[in-house]
């Protein structure tokens, strides 16, 4: 009889442990950050950085991350992901790296170590854009119109970033509005 009760108890414990496992799997600690988490962390860093060169470095890091995502998705032939990250890369390059380098270009004295860093960051931005562009052009899905458009946009972004880092290019309207505040 004792053995039978133990057997029943064991079976019940087994069922309980199964529940415990299943609920634990669902409530596992999320493996964030992911892209939103990365962007939020970068936003907090940007909100503390007064030096445009520091902000340019943060944006350059983001551009590098976006470019790696473009390369990975292009390699896997994931058109939608590649074009989405291509769009983020374009924005980060022009409005992030390019714009902060333009500010830095205006603030730092010529021939100073800071002006050399402006040049270096500009070259890095071109290289990051070039890697993304190349991966899209050699992707298995390269013939898709969305991929071709993404390549063109990254090429344009590369040019615009170079211009802005040399103090050229137009400031976007929304930014002028923000500056008035």
């Amino acid at each position: 009889m004792k053995r039978s009760i133990l057997f029943a108890f064991g079976l019940a414990c087994l069922a309980l442990s199964w529940f415990d496992d299943s609920s634990r799997a669902e409530t596992a600690v999320p493996s964030m950050p992911g892209m939103v988490g990365i962007l939020v962390d970068a936003a907090l860093e940007l909100s503390e950085a007064d030096d445009p060169l520091v902000r340019a470095r943060i944006c350059q890091r983001l551009a590098d991350r976006m470019s790696r995502e473009v390369q990975d998705s292009a390699k896997k032939g994931e058109v939608k992901r590649a074009t989405s990250y291509g769009q983020y890369l374009e924005l980060v390059l022009v409005e992030g790296v390019g714009e902060t380098l333009r500010q830095a270009h205006q603030e730092v004295p010529a021939n100073s170590p800071q002006s050399a860093e402006v040049e270096l960051l500009s070259q890095q931005a071109s290289s990051v854009a070039g890697s993304a562009e190349k991966s899209l052009e050699t992707s298995a899905a390269q013939d898709q119109p969305a991929m071709k458009e993404a390549v063109l946009k990254i090429q344009e972004a590369k040019k615009e970033t170079e211009n802005r880092s040399q103090g050229k290019g137009k400031m976007p309207g929304w930014m002028k509005k923000g500056k008035k505040k």
């Binding site: 039978s4 069922a15 992911g34 939103v36 936003a43 940007l46 909100s47 992030g96 714009e99 505040k181």
Partner: protein
């Protein structure tokens, strides 16, 4: 006001029949939203009337455990093997019964949880489910805040942009509740807390002569707190906990901002 904003506000409202003036204005102009609002009110009215079968699972389980053990009958001199087999079969049946009860009980609890019920209702609503990693619009909105922050060093503008970022995350949390995604929701709640504590409050401390900005930001956070608290009441524990976390962070943030604005005024 955009249709999506109006609909989101109505979904977050404690009483959707009492739309705020901005929403009411939009509803009077937009026939699609007006029809959608009518549908929402119908659902709101019907949710409490949904038949929910009473569960007897708990009582049955308790009864099984609380049953006094019957004294074992005196062993009969004949056929002992058959008796042992009888006890074994009874124990096996009891074990299977307990295991089945637990499985069915858990299934019933999940099935009848408010979150599931709410999701069932919202399946018919035009709510776009959010997959945090893949949500293009969410990434674009957060990225937009980053780019604005990259281009300014004005402390007041920074507090305003961080407030916008908190808005974006608060909106994402509401979408995740509707999509029933507790894992992503917990992650967003954590990020939201970070933006309030390390971002808004951190930047507000170095803000000079920004009383108005601080009070505006505090008001926004108070709105987030009440919306999150209200939403937490309508869902199951798994989704409610991160929403309460967001409400707490919002309240703490609003209190901190009000204190800072007082300090500035003195």
């Amino acid at each position: 006001m955009k249709c999506a904003d109006c609909r989101q506000r109505l979904l977050l409202a404690e009483n959707p029949s009492d739309a705020d003036p901005e929403c009411a204005g939009h509803l009077s102009l937009c026939a699609a939203c007006k029809a959608w609002h009518g549908q929402l009110l119908t659902i709101e009215r019907h949710v409490p009337l949904l038949p929910v079968p009473a569960s007897k699972g708990d009582d049955q389980l308790k009864r099984l455990f609380l049953l006094p053990l019957e004294p074992a009958p005196a062993p009969a001199p004949t056929r002992p093997i058959r008796r042992v087999r009888k006890y074994f079969m009874a124990a096996l049946a009891l074990g299977v019964l307990i295991a089945t009860g637990l499985i069915l009980g858990d299934w019933a609890v999940r099935r009848m949880s408010p979150a599931t019920k709410m999701n069932d209702v919202l399946v018919q609503q035009p709510v776009k489910p959010v997959a945090l990693e893949e949500d293009h619009e969410l990434v674009l909105k957060v990225l937009d805040c980053n780019l604005e922050l990259a281009q300014t060093k004005n402390p007041r503008t920074r507090v305003e942009i961080l407030g916008k970022l908190a808005d974006v995350l608060s909106g994402a949390s509401a979408s995740l509740v509707k999509a029933g995604k507790p894992t992503e929701l917990r992650a967003v709640a954590e990020l939201y807390g970070k933006v309030i504590r390390d971002g808004i409050l951190g930047r507000a401390k170095v803000l000079e002569d920004g009383r108005e900005t601080l009070l505006e930001a505090a008001q926004k956070l108070e709105l987030h707190a009440s919306a999150s608290t209200a939403l937490a009441k309508t869902v199951g524990a798994e989704l409610a906990e991160p929403m309460r976390q967001i409400a707490l962070a919002s309240r703490e943030g609003a209190r901190g901002l009000r204190d800072l604005s007082k300090e500035g005024a003195e």
